[in-house]
Structures are given as structure tokens and as C-alpha cells.
Amino acid sequence: MAAAGDGVGVRLGGVVDRAAVTERLATRAAPLVRREPASPAEPAPDVAPPSKPVPTSGTMLVPQSAIRRRTAAHLTESLATAAHALLVVDVDYGAVDRVRRDLGLTYLPFVARAVVEAVRAFPKVNGMSTTEGLVVSRDVHLGIAVDLGFEGLVVPVVHRASDLRLRALAHAVENLAAAARDRRLSADALEGGTFTITNVGNYGTVSAAPIINHPQVAILSIDGVRMRPAAVAGPDGDWALAVRPVGNLSLSFDHRVFDGAYAAAFLDRVRNELEHRDWDAER
């Protein structure tokens, strides 16, 4: 039986399924697509416009769903609007790992917790760029990018993440991700984010250049953590080679709103939290 949500509505006309509701709610939650600024008429190009795709033998046309097209429009608008700049730091996750394994958690809630702490010192990364200026949010409403089995992307929001300790934060992230994958997110859960974390590290990425979830002004990517040789300071001040769990964090920020020094200081603070915070106290 074709229960709701398994996509018959895409292939067949006249049979509605849950994707229609998901799409409707996502549409309502998303900002209106901005009309591109009028530009003076351009001379006709010398070359002919690209022709329609003509599927040949062995190829298949994949029509773009409406939700896909909206995602595309949103990302394109963000890239066209925000002045994207990228910073990458490496992080020693040794302190995190001791607690993480005991609690059976992923790196994501630790990074989220570190971000929330770092935002206290660098509040400008947690806000919305508007025509009036930067609107800084007191609370951190943390968007978590969730992949829907390669079929699409949603960014549910942990509201007031700044009020949550490690385990509550981990729990909230887990619940939202499960709801997203089951396509039962409410419209509220998709609204109001002030900062976004995306996590592709489980595929072993070294560095990412994420697109800012406009009108937010920064997005942090968690890259793959693996055991790496690292120089560590010994008790006598000598340096020694050690094998440590190391992974990168990549921050895309909107250079229109603040500068590289501010963004780098924020990112350094995130790294410091991850490496030196008393994680045992958050068990």
C-alpha cells in the first residue's frame, strides 16, 4: 500500500501525499524569493543560448521538484547577497572524546555547545543581516542542516539552544533530525534560526565551504575527525609527536557584516572551548 509520504504523488497526478504538506509548510517558513534587481538591458549575446538538454541513450532526466527549486533559489540568493569568506581551524578533540564515548554522542552536540559559549563573547555571528543593519539575537537559535537521504535538505532549529546543557542539546538535535527524516517537522521547527551548523564530517571531509543560510551571517561546518600526528608540548617544554583525534572546523561568514579578525577570534574561541572546556562537568 502506498502510504502517504512514499512519493506516489510525484509520479502520479491526483493522489496527494505527505510531501505536499512538507512542501507547503517549508514554503511558508521560507522568506519570499527576492526579485533580482533590475539591470539595464544587456546586448544580445553573440553565442546562441544553451540548447535544451536532450537526453541521449543511457541518460535520464531527473525533473527538479518544487522544494528542490526553492532550495536552489534560496542558496543562489545567499551567495549573490552575502560576501562569503571562509576560515578553517583544526581542533584537537582529545578532551571531547573522553566524555563523548562514555555518553555515546556524536561530535555535533559538543561543537554546538562550544558555539553557544563562544557566541557570548562574539555576539555578532549570531544574527540576521537586514536592510536596517545587523539584528543580533540574545538567544542562540541553532539551525542544524539535516540531509533527507540525499533527496533534499532541511534546517530545523533548536530554539533557545543557549539555555541547554550538553545532554539536553544532544537530545534536542537528535529529536529534530529524526522528525526531519520522518517528514513530520512543524513549520515552527523550521523558523527563527540565528546560526547554522552543518555536519558532513562523517564522510571524512577535510574542509568545506558552506553557503550561509541567509539572512543569517555565519555557518559552521564540522569536518571529519581522524587520528593524526600532532606536536604536543611535554612537561619540560620540549615538543613531542603524539597521535591525537584532530578535525577541522570551517566557518563561512558574511564579510559585509564583520571582518576576518572578528570571525577568526570567534572560531578560535570555539576551538578553545572544545579543547579546554571541563566536559566532565556537563555529563
Binding site: 500500500m1 502506498a2 502510504a3 502517504a4 506516489v8 510525484v10 509520479r11 502520479l12 497526478g13 491526483g14 493522489v15 496527494v16 501525499d17 505527505r18 505536499a20 504538506v21 512538507t22 509548510l25 535544451k52 538538454p53 536532450v54 537526453p55 532526466l61 525533473p63 518544487a66 517528514r183 513530520r184 512543524s186 513549520a187
Partner: protein, 697 residues
């Protein structure tokens, strides 16, 4: 006719168990308290509509005592709050619907308050149109004797002495469906108990402006109908008449109709204010005859309870309802994602291999043989409609038999019996309504409307009843029926009322599946699939194709299934995708051959089903051809082609190199004289011209 006395006397008029009397008085108070609580909650925006059962409590509770939940069947109407409480529905269940909770057992928050539904108690999900429950109730009652005579049908059960209860207000008696169903119930001697609750007002219209007399007067000439007149404000009279009328129906004597005079102390609904149109004196008079007051007086007068105990019962009822309301308000809120669940349960069937060596048959024979094969395998299938039977049973040996005006049902009565293929009165609403009631009982009815042109009296049954039943009951009730309807023109002389199309009107209705085959083999495979689905199917059979040589195919065998939603490429091509169905498939193939003469290559796609329709095959084809033409026989404006085109404009915009065009009937009825018909309906030349022009542009 039976009239019972005024209840106000010192002794109880009948010897009833005092504990039952106290329990029913308590339930009457609960019912009234629910009305009051809902009105209060509505003012707080926690309930969004209210419609009361006030004034009808004694009637409902009196009848509930004679009826058996989970044994008898119930098609109540919105003022039957006390009846459903008497049948065991809890105040909390009632209030969960009022607050729109996901836990509402009747509809999961989808329906207004007082739209009862309880599968375990056989309370069939209710719609809002007045009187439209009557044909379905007749069908339910019709199922009784069939199920008793055919025990052990899967998913079916019946009792020989069961009763189907149906109720309605006196205002609803103005509806034609009520009279159709009443006529059928009397003609078929159905075990149907009809209770007309007459509170004198249809919203603001008094009964004298509704009908020339009271319903018991109006039906007095109906042969086979047992009629009761009742003061429904009188609990004791209601119990007595409830016992008698139920016993009459239970005894297999045929239908009974109870005219129950009741009051309406509250306005029609929360959106109404009866002070605007009713005299204060009348309302004061009604208050004196309030059923709760009369019952309290009788119980106190007979010494069953004291005045203090009456007050204690009222208070207790009020407290219980308040607590039930609190629980209802704490119930789960509906999750928006679920709102599209249970519109249809579209099953993705597996297409089987047709027998390609079978005897060549026309479309009419393919349908006839498929029906026969299906009926042989499944005794739940009953075929009925106008002229579908062969002949009167006594004449079968002497005459050839009719078997439908097109012969699609020929021999089914002769082969499978007089109760498997049945002629009906010319009453389309009741043909479909009888199917709905039988489908609710687990049968697989196959009603026929003789011509698509005459389907409109049944529109309410199709659209408001059959197509909504799964959704409105949150999946508790379903109507798996296959409604077969000959459709279409190109028959020279058919004229306006034997030639129309109109599939788009039904495609607009969520909850229906629609097939529109163009060939014998597809008709056979789709018809078999139609019986496998669990939802109402509109099966459109094109009259022009019934006996065409080009529509003949080898009979595909008794197990061939063609799932809905699978279009087919009838003729491959590279320059233009032509989407069509029904009689214009062959015309489009001929047009494609003409276009080939001017070096255009047209790909003809036959959708085969309208709901669901195969978007994928259209997308795949347009990705190759970059041009789209939709052809149909129905009129252009808002024909189903408009849907195909709108979808393509949205989803295939990037693929298209030319405007999307349609060829369809002129927006004109189909005329009688052949040259006039020819100009209105799309012809090969119209299709070829449009296709060639699109390819050239």
C-alpha cells in the same frame, strides 16, 4: 398509527426498571451539559463550532434502549447526541471531536462536532448534507438479507434480525434522496428504522414552509411502511415506540418510520440566534415541555427519586462533563502532516501478463466477461442498476434477456442469480447510495449509471458520501465500489443527453479513482484492478468504443490486472508528445499518421486512467520531444487537459520549446444532427492540424 398519552401523571406509565430510568435521566443531563460545555469552550476558542442535541434527549435515549450497538447499524444525524451516548459513546469521545483532537475517535479532528462515527458500535461516519444518509442506510439494510443468505463472505457479518437505524430532521425530509430511499426501502421490504425528529424548525424555516404536512401524513400512502407518531419529548412514549418500531423492523416486516415531535431549546447551531426569528412565547412554551424537565417531573412524581436527588444527578452530570472536557482538551493535537493521509488508500498493484492468445473480443465483451470472471470468484460483488438484469426470474427460460442497454451485464443474472445482478428503480442517487451502504458492510458493489449524462442526481452520493468516507472517518470506514458508467459521443444521433463527457468534474473530487480505457484489454485489466482497490472507482466506458474493430483485443484471461496510473505509448514519435485518453486515442493515432505525411513525428500517449494519471510517462516523453499537445473529447474549458497542461507548464517548463496546446470539444453541448456533432467534437483533422502546427513552430 400509534399515539401515546401525555406523560404528566402521578404513576409511571410503564413498568421500567427504576435504575434504567435514573441512568437515562443522568445521560440526558450529560447530553445537555455537553451542549453547554461546548458552547462555553467555543467562547474560549477551544471549540470551533457547536450544534446541539438539546430537546432530542428523551427520543434518543428511549430508542437507544431498544437498539443494539455493534449488532444493529446506525446512520444518525447531528442532533443524536443522546442516542449515541445511550449506545455507549463516551462524553470524552464526543468532546474530543468538539475540540478537534487527534484522539477524536470519529474523525481525528477532521469533522465538526456531532458528526458521529464509531466502527465498533456500527455507528457509520456521518456527513453534513441533510438527508444524504438515507440512500446509504437503505443500502446497509439491503445488505442484511444478502449477507445472511451468503454467510462466510470475507470481512462481512450480519444478523437476520438486525436493524438499520437512520434519523433525520423534518427539514431534511424535503430532500429528494429521502423519498428515493424511502421508496426503495418499502419496495425491497428493508429492515430500516427511520426516525424523523421534528422540532418544527429547519434553521429559521418553520415546517409549514417546508412541506404540505407532517412527515407521517406525507408517507401515509407508502405500501409496506409502518408509521408511528410520537411525542418525542416524552421519554416513556419514546421508549414504548422505540420498542414497538424496532420489534416491527427486527421481525422482518419491512421499514418503519417514526415521526417524533421534539423541541429545540437552543439555536440551530452556534452560528445561529433563534431569538431573531422565533417568538418568545413559543420558546417559553417549549421550555415547559423540555424533555429533561418532563422526565424529572415524572420520576419525582412517581417517587423514583427526590427533588434533591434530581439536582444531585444534574450536578454530577455537569461535573463529569467538565472533567471529560479537561481530558479532551489534554488530548493530542492533530499533526498537520497527517491531514493528507487516508484520502485514498491507493495500492500499487502488480501488472500481470495478459493472455495474448485469447479469443478476440470487443470492449463490451471484455467488460462482460471480466465482470463474469470477477463475480465467479467473489460473491461479495453485486451488479445493479437500470436494466442491468436479464429478465424477471420466471421468464428467464423463455426470453434472451436484456443485460444492460449496451449488453455489458448480459447473462450475469442468469449465471450468478437474481440477487447478484439486480434491476433498480430510475433513481441514480439511490443506486449509488445502496452501493455505499453495502460497501460499508464489506460487500463489493458494482452499481451502474446507465449513461454518464444521467449521473448528476447521484453527484451528492458520489462526491459528499462515497468519496469523503475514508477521509472524514480518518480511515475507519471505506467504500470500495466500482461505479460503471458508459460515457461519450461520436455516436451520431446521441445528442446532448447521450453523448456527454465530463471526467474532469469527478477528477476534481479527492477520494475517487477514475479509469477511462480505450481498448478491450485495458478495460478488462483496469476493471479487475478497480475491484482490488479499497476506494470508490468511477469506471468510464466509452460507448463509441464498445464494438469498434480497432478496440478489439484477445481476451487477456481471468487474472489480468492493469494497475491505475500507467499510461502507455500507443505510437512512438520524436517531435511532439500528444496526451489523450478514451475515444480520442484512435483519432490521435490516425492524426499522427497524417502528420507523418508532412514529416512530423507524433508520440501518442494514452493515459488510460484519469485519477491517478501518469505524469512520469508524459515527462519522459516531453524530455525527448520538447512539445506537448493534449487532446480530449470533453469540452475545452476546465477539461482534464487543463490539469495536464497546468502541471506541464509548472514542472516541464524548462523542457518545452513551444507553447502547450489543447484540442477538445467546443464549449457547446453535443448536438443531435451528425454534421453538427462532427463540428463540435474534435476530429482527426483538428488534431492533425494542431500537431503539425506545433511541430512547425
Amino acid at each position: 398509527m400509534s399515539t401515546l398519552d401525555d406523560p404528566r401523571h402521578a404513576e409511571l406509565p410503564y413498568d421500567y426498571d427504576p435504575s434504567e430510568l435514573i441512568a437515562d435521566f443522568h445521560l440526558a443531563c450529560v447530553a445537555r451539559a455537553i451542549d453547554q460545555r461546548e458552547l462555553t469552550l467555543q467562547k474560549q476558542n477551544k471549540v470551533f463550532f457547536e450544534i446541539s442535541g438539546a430537546g432530542h434527549e428523551a427520543l434518543g435515549l428511549g430508542f437507544a434502549r431498544a437498539l443494539r450497538p455493534g449488532y444493529d447499524w446506525f446512520f444518525p444525524y447531528y442532533r443524536d447526541l443522546a442516542l449515541v451516548l445511550g449506545l455507549g459513546v463516551t462524553p470524552e469521545a464526543v468532546l474530543l471531536q468538539a475540540v478537534g483532537s487527534a484522539d477524536d475517535p470519529a474523525s481525528g479532528g477532521r469533522q465538526m462536532p456531532a458528526h458521529w462515527g464509531d466502527a465498533a458500535r456500527h455507528i457509520v461516519t456521518q456527513s453534513s448534507p441533510t438527508g444524504s444518509q438515507m440512500p446509504g442506510a437503505a443500502g446497509c439494510a439491503e445488505a442484511t438479507s444478502y449477507l445472511v443468505q451468503h454467510p462466510d463472505l470475507p470481512g462481512c457479518a450480519a444478523h437476520a434480525d438486525e436493524v438499520t437505524y437512520v434519523s433525520l430532521g423534518e427539514g431534511a425530509c424535503s430532500e429528494g434522496e429521502v423519498w428515493e430511499a424511502l421508496s426503495a426501502a418499502c419496495m425491497l421490504t428493508l429492515p430500516l428504522l427511520i426516525v424523523v425528529a421534528d422540532n418544527g424548525w429547519a434553521i429559521s424555516v418553520p415546517s409549514r414552509d417546508q412541506a404540505p404536512g407532517s412527515i407521517d401524513q406525507l408517507v401515509s400512502g407508502f405500501p409496506g411502511l409502518q408509521i408511528y407518531d410520537l411525542n418525542g419529548s416524552d421519554y416513556f412514549a419514546s421508549r414504548r415506540v422505540g420498542e414497538r418500531a424496532t420489534a416491527w423492523v427486527r421481525g422482518g416486516n419491512g421499514p418503519a418510520l417514526v415521526h417524533a415531535r421534539v423541541t429545540r431549546p437552543l439555536s440551530h447551531s452556534s452560528q445561529d440566534s433563534q431569538a431573531k426569528y422565533r417568538a418568545p412565547e413559543e420558546l417559553a412554551e417549549e421550555a415547559l415541555n423540555d424533555p429533561l424537565r418532563l422526565l424529572a417531573d415524572a420520576l419525582v412524581g412517581a417517587g423514583v427519586v427526590s427533588i434533591d436527588e434530581i439536582e444531585e444527578i444534574r450536578q454530577r452530570a455537569s461535573t463529569e462533563v467538565a472533567a471529560a472536557a479537561q481530558r479532551a482538551l489534554a488530548g493530542a493535537r492533530p499533526d498537520p502532516i497527517t491531514v493528507v493521509d487516508k484520502v485514498v488508500a491507493f495500492t500499487d498493484l502488480v501488472e500481470t501478463e495478459p493472455d495474448r492468445e485469447g479469443e478476440a473480443v470487443s470492449m463490451v465483451d471484455a467488460i462482460n466477461r471480466t465482470l463474469a470472471d470477477l463475480m465467479a470468484a467473489d460473491a461479495r460483488i453485486r451488479v445493479f442498476g437500470e436494466d442491468v438484469a436479464d429478465a424477471q426470474a420466471a421468464l428467464l427460460d423463455k426470453v434472451e434477456g436484456k443485460g444492460g442497454v449496451f449488453g455489458t451485464t448480459r447473462g450475469l443474472q442468469r449465471t450468478y442469480g437474481n440477487d447478484r445482478c439486480i434491476n433498480t428503480p430510475i433513481a441514480e442517487a439511490t443506486i449509488v447510495g445502496r452501493a455505499i451502504g453495502q460497501a460499508v458492510r464489506g460487500l463489493r458493489p458494482c452499481p451502474e449509471i446507465q449513461f454518464f449524462d444521467y449521473i448528476w442526481p447521484a453527484m451528492q452520493q458520489i462526491r459528499s458520501e462515497a468519496a469523503t468516507i475514508r477521509w472524514r472517518s480518518n480511515g475507519a470506514f471505506t467504500v470500495p465500489m466500482v461505479l460503471r458508467v458508459p460515457i461519450g459521443g461520436y455516436i451520431s444521433g446521441g445528442s446532448i443527453w447521450h453523448s456527454q463527457c465530463g471526467e474532469s468534474i469527478f477528477a476534481h473530487v479527492p477520494g475517487l479513482l477514475i479509469a477511462f480505457p480505450s481498448r478491450a484489454v485495458d478495460a478488462a485489466g483496469l476493471l479487475r484492478a478497480a475491484f482490488a482497490y479499497e476506494d470508490p472507482v468511477l469506471f468510464l466506458e466509452h460507448k463509441h468504443l464498445f464494438r469498434q474493430a480497432y478496440a478489439r483485443d484477445p481476451y487477456p484471461g481471468s487474472s489480468y490486472v492493469l494497475p491505475f496510473g500507467r499510461g502507455i505509448v500507443r505510437r512512438p514519435g520524436t517531435d511532439l508528445t500528444l496526451v489523450t485518453w478514451g475515444a480520442t486515442v484512435e483519432k490521435s493515432i490516425q492524426a499522427a499518421a497524417k502528420v507523418a505525411e508532412v514529416d512530423g513525428s507524433v508520440e501518442v500517449i494514452d493515459l488510460r486512467t484519469i485519477v491517478p494519471w501518469d505524469r512520469q510517462i508524459v515527462a519522459d516523453s516531453v524530455a525527448r520531444t520538447h512539445r506537448l499537445l493534449v487532446v480530449h473529447e470533453d469540452t475545452m474549458t476546465m477539461g482534464f487537459g487543463a490539469e495536464v497542461v497546468a502541471w506541464a507548464a509548472d514542472e516541464l517548463f524548462d523542457l518545452l520549446d513551444a507553447p502547450i496546446r489543447r484540442v477538445a470539444a467546443l464549449d457547446t453541448p453535443v448536438p443531435y444532427e451528425p454534421t453538427l456533432e462532427n463540428v463540435v467534437l474534435p476530429q482527426v483533422a483538428d488534431i492533425a492540424a494542431a500537431a503539425a502546427a506545433l511541430i512547425a513552430c
